[in-house]
């Protein structure tokens, strides 16, 4: 991977290399905490924070960390920022903290973050690394937000807690249950892949 242009480092994470829709990374939080818009966006932002901070630190230390212990060092750095965001969310709102549950701590094993540290931040200077992490993080946040919006609207008749359809709406409860996460993710992946294939066909034809 040669160093791409800086804007491309940011933009590729949004669609072409979207961590959720293209690489299928970080599925655990995507399925588990996308049952409401607020949860989804908070999870996306928390992951983005960890991603950007750990990519920056990994990039700064990239010439200093020997190859043999790089994974251990990256995990330690990622775990540090996960602990930091864990405290920060508790300080911001305990209700949000309770809603996100164990998934904040589980950001540490989100392979999207280790993936960016290993494949990009460890080989590039800090500027592009931060942009790359930011792009990936925003791509992740947008993806999990789409999931959250669809599931909350169908499953609860509301958007970010605001009631949309009035009292006569019959919620499609399965959508906010775990099964609904798989349905929505499957449908979104179908759409994204269909769109990408049509585009590719148009490029070749």
């Amino acid at each position: 991977m040669s160093a791409p242009a800086t804007t491309d480092a940011f933009l590729k994470g949004l669609w072409r290399e979207n961590p959720v829709f293209v690489y299928l990374l970080g599925m655990c939080p995507v399925l588990a905490v996308s049952n409401s818009v607020i949860n989804a966006v908070s999870m996306g932002l928390a992951s983005t924070f960890v991603l950007v901070m750990s990519s920056a630190l990994v990039s700064l230390l990239r010439n200093f960390i020997p190859k043999q212990v790089r994974i251990a060092a990256y995990i330690m750095i990622i775990a540090t920022f996960v602990t930091v965001i864990d405290y920060l969310i508790q300080a911001i709102s305990l209700e949000l903290y309770a809603a996100l549950g164990a998934f904040i701590q589980l950001i540490v094993v989100n392979c999207m973050i280790l993936g960016r540290a290993e494949s990009f931040a460890s080989r590039n200077p800090i500027g592009p690394s931060i942009l790359d992490a930011l792009g990936t993080g925003v791509g992740f946040t947008v993806a999990i937000f789409c999931m959250g919006a669809i599931r909350e609207i169908l499953g609860n008749g509301s958007f970010a807690g605001i009631d949309l359809f009035g009292p006569h709406f019959e919620p499609w409860i399965v959508m906010i249950l775990p099964g609904g996460g798989f349905f929505v993710l499957g449908a979104l992946l179908l759409g994204v892949n269909a769109l990408n294939q049509r585009r590719k066909a148009a490029d070749h034809g």
Binding site: A73, I77, A79, F81, T83
Partner: protein, 265 residues
């Protein structure tokens, strides 16, 4: 020691393949511990240097991590403590109507001991609520029990003088959305807890009518809790924890009524 020798040796081997040596001998090389001296060149110096640098790197990264975490902890600790106190206070004031301030009481055997502030250590406690002029309005009592998915924690308010439940709030639940969450959404179920009969009998050591859990539509008496259709397990769980908690705590509260009434902060 043998093990670590093998590890260094493997490390050296990886370094060698990366600089372009043949890849065919990996199984033989990585398998043999202590055979490194037989290989030519100067592996010893490379090994010890890279081992030192690995240890140094992990040490520096760990120190940096520790510093960051301790810093964040110091910065947020006070805020998090205040959040917890605020959360508890909001719940207490919600289940004791008319209350504006509260005081924490520690349960010590058959006695209640007033505390100053809100302690952060765990313990069995009840929370007395007082209105603006310091008049006692009721007590918030925590109760918990196993629900369908996980432990459900509730806080309910009682007026020990009248022997009535006056408020109810679910603090923590992981019950299924759309089904089990009726324990804090179902209007009829919530109405049960407004005026639930928990008067004591003549001895003052037990409830006159212990709470009963009945099927939907069968609760004619003031001490009966109707379960919810579609949330039978969750609502029964709430009923059971209320049963246990009122049977245990109502006599305690009645005994310590003077302390509660005079405890206005």
């Amino acid at each position: 020691m043998r093990h670590s020798l093998g590890f260094y040796h493997r490390v050296y081997y990886i370094a060698a393949t990366e600089s372009g040596s043949s890849a065919g001998s990996s199984a033989r090389d990585t398998g043999s511990a202590g055979g490194s001296s037989a290989k030519g060149g100067t592996p010893k110096t490379i090994e010890s240097a890279s081992a030192l640098s690995m240890v140094r790197t992990m040490g520096v990264v760990a120190a940096l991590s520790g510093l960051l975490i301790v810093g964040t902890f110091q910065l947020t600790a006070e805020r998090i403590r205040l959040n917890r106190v605020e959360q508890l206070k909001k719940a207490v004031l919600a289940v004791v109507p008319g209350a504006e301030t509260m005081r924490v009481f520690e349960v010590e055997g058959r006695q209640l001991r007033p505390l100053d502030g809100v302690p952060s250590t765990p313990g069995r406690r009840v929370y007395a609520g007082y209105d603006g002029s310091g008049v006692f309005r009721g007590v918030a009592v925590p109760a918990a029990g196993m629900g369908f998915a996980d432990i459900i924690r509730v806080l309910y308010g009682v007026d020990p003088k009248k022997g009535e439940v006056i408020g109810y709030q679910v603090l923590e639940t992981k019950e299924t959305p759309g089904l089990g969450d009726k324990i804090f959404k179902d209007a009829d179920f919530l109405a049960t807890f407004d005026g639930l009969d928990v008067r004591l009998d003549a001895s003052g050591e037990a409830l006159a009518h212990p709470l009963e859990i009945v099927k939907p539509g069968e609760g004619a008496q003031g001490w009966q809790i109707e379960t919810i259709t579609g949330a039978t397990v969750s609502s029964s769980a709430v009923g059971r924890m209320m049963q246990e908690s009122t049977a245990r705590d109502m006599p305690l509260l009645a005994r310590n009524l003077d302390a509660l009434e005079g405890g206005a902060p």
